[in-house]
Amino acid sequence: MATAKEIRRRIRTVKNIQKITNAMKMVAAARLKKAQARAEAARPYAQKMKELMGRLSSSAACISHPLLERREETNTLFVIIGAERGLAGSYNVNVVHHALSEIGGRPVESVKLVLLGRKAISFFRRRPYQIVATFESRSSDVAFSDVQRLTARVRSMFEEREVDAVYLVYSRFVTPMKQVPTTVQLLPMEQPATEQKAEGDFEFEPEASELLGALLPRYLDTLVYQALIEAQASEQGARMTAMSTATNNAAEMIETLTLAYNKARQAAITKELTEIVTSAEALT
């Protein structure tokens, strides 16, 4: 059995770890709040844009746009949003495995990847798939223009027929404790749903189909931006949950160790007493 001194040392170690996990939990909670606020702030734009798309597509006579073009899927691009940092429980593993199952049995040479997040990058670097672009956000403040640079690349790959379909894989934020890996088809874009009542009294400048052509790429940017913000919230949520569990486990461990320590100490005292008593007896 371990001596009291050894147990005391272990208790100290666990306490230190607990301090760290607790601090990380606090930081994650603060960042989660920030990420949620950002997601909230981004919602009106996405919402209005969707409305506008619906209005335009009900007014535009016929829509043909390179981003709507459907063709047989031979080459596929996956945009995968993974974790930026570690210690977020199974967050990154979940997304990455979901992505792998989406890629499924596609031949290796037909799959191209765009990766966001350091952990996703380091995971796929060891896989055979071709990585066309990566993006790391060192701070949590991703600007819309950063995303645009990335989506511009994705768009041109699709328009130049390097790929025939683009899927986005990310973690949807449900609650801080629940994140669901999700796949969304980015390209070809879904024909926007037309509004029920066609409001024919709108003036368009330039005409509706041209406006829609300008709007589609922006809408794509918005989709990716939203997914990225949501994924960041998911990551912080996952980290907060993981660190909270770790802190609780540490507390439990400290309790057991303290119990063991007390027992060891008791045993040492008893042993010492017995020794004294026996030696005293021996003297008389």
């Binding site: 209005k48 003036e203 931006y225």
Partner: protein, 141 residues
């Protein structure tokens, strides 16, 4: 008689920049030229260019906003501006805009093979719009 007002909302992907019920007049940088909007405008959807959008509130105050392109929808006395970027004139960092302008000019002047002319021009126009908006506020104050 008080002027008739309408609702104006300026939103970007990152935030709601401005929102008020008491706007009486608006001038926006459409891709086919600047145009004005007043209360009860017939419904319109328009694409916006990089430029300065200005509006007047009921108290007669003109505000200038540097927008980096986007869309505008006016219907039922409600104007929604979906801008890629938008900054109210007092939010503009003049020094940064000046630097961006110099950088873009430098890039265009150097004319190297790696220069994305279109992007440099867009950057230049955005910087000029910011400077313009900030300066027009100055001259009003």
């Amino acid at each position: 008689m008080p002027e008739r007002a309408f609702r104006l909302e300026i939103v970007t992907p990152e935030r709601v920049v401005f929102s008020s019920d008491r706007v009486v007049s608006l001038i926006a940088p459409g891709v086919e030229g600047y145009f004005g909007i007043m209360a009860n405008r017939a419904p319109i959807v328009s694409q916006l260019d990089i430029g300065v959008l200005q509006y007047r509130t009921a108290d007669g105050h003109w505000e200038y906003v540097a927008v980096g392109g986007g869309f505008l929808e006016a219907a039922h006395n409600r104007v929604i501006v979906l801008a890629e970027t938008a900054e109210l004139s007092h939010e503009i960092d003049v020094q940064r805009a000046q630097e961006a302008k110099d950088r873009a000019l430098h890039r265009l002047a150097s004319g190297g093979p790696n220069v994305d002319i279109e992007r440099a021009q867009a950057a230049l126009r955005r910087a000029l719009a910011r400077l313009d908006a900030a300066q027009r506020r100055e001259s009003h104050a």
